[in-house]
């Protein structure tokens, strides 16, 4: 498949000449508009250079790098592999638990460490809670992009319950440094399981309330159906993952298809977009995939809470982490998609090279493909449906 040509950086708008009846010519030009880096709706410091013809977008070029914090260079200078975990937290700051887990999993696989089963259950519970919290942020801000200001507040109210659970466990609300190589930093406190069960019962009707308010609202459907359609083969070719890929109808979820941890012990379903109110792969499909994933996460949490075994969560944490020289690539399913860490070890105590493959970075690269021909008002919703977090895009 041939690549579409990217516009050169010295793009000059092309005037169109229209001849009028009196022999004079009228010129129309395309306009280059800048959206960002500071903009209420680009979810962070993203600069979009949009070339428009009236209201129709001819091309949308993302410029990133405003939040580049040199994660990979820092990781090379750490004296200990465990020290990289707080940095990994800060990449995708909305879904920290999942970042920690991906890195810890990479080192554990490289050193062939077996973690206790209780640790696996705790990790699953935390990751799924984090998935719900991250989707709540994504859905709430998506409502604001569409103009509905109220669902955002409802989502954050529910997210507070999850953050209370996290604070109870490890003391932090956003960046946890909780999942370490070989285990977790603290065991579940007393009262966590009851509170988590209460949260699950509390949260299920809230999803229905959110759907009634936003998802099935006629105006919202009109704004998001048939908009930003991502065809299946383009999604796979551009290595999209997570709700972007599943919204296009591809049945692919790393928790099931490239399994890790104890996900195989729980009953849950992979949600895909079916084009219920529009085309398969439009913004509404990605939105409904996220909503339904929240429901499935609640299911997984309930099952995990019911069957969590006893054990010591710190027994497998190695005193000294010195993997054999070699390299490994491990990927996990975060709320945004496939987060992969490629770690090269040279036998010493600090990593030789850590490459973080952020799902938001890869998902964002498909933006020009799906927004050609849309209107400027649609672009906001398309960017919102990609669900980017700039910390992960820029690392």
């Amino acid at each position: 498949m041939d690549q579409p040509k990217a516009l050169p950086t010295n793009y000059v708008t092309q005037p169109d000449k229209i001849a009028t009846s009196k022999g004079k010519t009228v010129r129309t030009e395309e306009m280059i508009i800048n959206m960002g880096p500071q903009h209420p709706s680009t979810h962070g410091v993203l600069r979009l250079e949009i070339i428009v013809d009236g209201e129709i977008i001819v091309d949308a070029i993302p410029h990133i790098g405003y939040l580049h914090r040199c994660f990979e260079k820092h990781a090379e200078h750490m004296t200990n592999y465990q020290q990289v975990i707080p940095y990994a937290d800060r990449m995708d700051y909305v879904a920290s638990m999942n970042n920690d887990w991906a890195f810890a999993l990479a080192i554990e696989r490289m050193m062939k460490i077996e973690v206790p089963e209780r640790v696996e259950y705790i990790r699953v519970i935390m990751a799924e809670l984090q998935r719900i919290a991250s989707h709540l942020v994504a859905l709430g801000t998506y409502g604001i992009d569409a103009g509905a200001f109220t669902p955002f507040l409802y989502c954050f109210r529910d997210r507070e319950e999850i953050l209370d659970l996290f604070e109870m466990t490890c003391g932090a609300r956003l960046l946890y440094n909780y999942i370490w190589v070989g285990g977790v930093s603290h065991d579940l406190p007393q009262g966590f399981i009851e509170q988590a069960k209460e949260f699950c019962t509390y949260f299920k009707p809230k999803i229905k309330e959110f759907n009634d308010l936003l998802t099935y609202n006629e105006i919202f459907i009109k704004r998001t159906a048939h908009v930003g359609v991502l065809p299946r083969d383009v999604a796979i070719n551009y290595a999209c993952s997570g709700p972007m890929l599943r919204g296009s109808g591809v049945h692919w979820d790393l928790r099931r298809d490239d399994p890790y941890s104890v996900y195989h012990k729980f009953e849950w379903e992979v949600q895909t977009g079916k084009g219920e109110v529009g085309t398969v792969g439009d913004c509404w499909d990605r939105h409904i995939v996220r909503v339904r994933e929240m429901e499935q996460s609640v299911k997984i949490i309930e099952q995990a809470l019911a069957s969590i075994p006893e054990g010591n969560v710190q027994s497998a944490i190695p005193k000294r982490i010195r993997p054999e020289p070699g390299d490994i690539y491990v990927r996990t399913e975060t709320p945004r998609g496939e987060l992969g860490f490629y770690v090269i070890s040279d036998g010493s105590g600090s990593p030789y090279r850590v490459k973080a493959r952020g799902p938001a970075f890869v998902n964002l690269s498909v933006l020009p493909e799906i927004s050609r021909g849309a209107m400027i008002a649609d672009l906001t919703l398309i960017v919102g449906s990609v669900d980017i977090v700039l910390g992960e895009v820029d690392r």
Binding site: D2, Q3, G65, C70, E72, A239, I328, G340, Y342, S365
Partner: protein
């Protein structure tokens, strides 16, 4: 398909472009000639028995012995197998063929490898810096990188 079968398929078809391999590790890798990367990847993507349609990751590496490397992690959604390809180039003349025509996602990954390591991908449609400002000097993730003193009048090391 096992890694040995894959290596055999590739060797029989591309012969001299397949350099080394190590198949007995957790994630077996095959070293290929960087100047023929595009044909090899196109074959891997289109061939029905391999069908590597998903490029998981493309990373640049500095091996600290005068060479830079590009590591491709490919997977197949159909056959659920994975392979790692490595291409080596020298630091003085770092060229590798671009695979952005094979997988669209390679476009940004290659730009990042260029930005961080200075590896020039031949045939890339728009090779320019992605994470750093366009007028930054140097390639930061190289092991011998010295940060510049001043950037547009701002003192960089603090």
């Amino acid at each position: 398909m096992t890694a040995q079968e894959l290596l055999d398929t590739l060797s029989s078809r591309f012969g001299s472009a397949i350099l080394e391999s190590k198949l007995d590790v957790n994630q077996p890798w095959i070293k290929i000639d960087g100047n023929r990367a595009r044909e090899i990847c196109l074959f891997l993507r289109n061939e029905p028995s391999t069908r590597f349609d998903y490029l998981m990751c493309l990373s640049g590496v500095d091996y600290n012995d005068g060479t830079l490397g590009v590591v491709y992690h490919c997977s197949s959604m159909e056959h659920k197998h994975k392979i790692v390809l490595k291409a080596i180039c020298s630091k003085d003349n770092p060229h590798c063929q671009s695979v952005s025509a094979v997988w669209g996602t390679a476009n940004w990954h290659e730009r990042e490898a260029f930005d961080m390591f200075g590896i020039i991908f031949d045939g890339h449609p728009d090779l320019r810096r992605i994470l750093l400002p366009d007028d930054w000097e140097g390639h930061p993730l190289r092991k011998d990188y010295k940060v510049q003193e001043f950037y547009r009048g701002i003192r960089v090391p603090y």
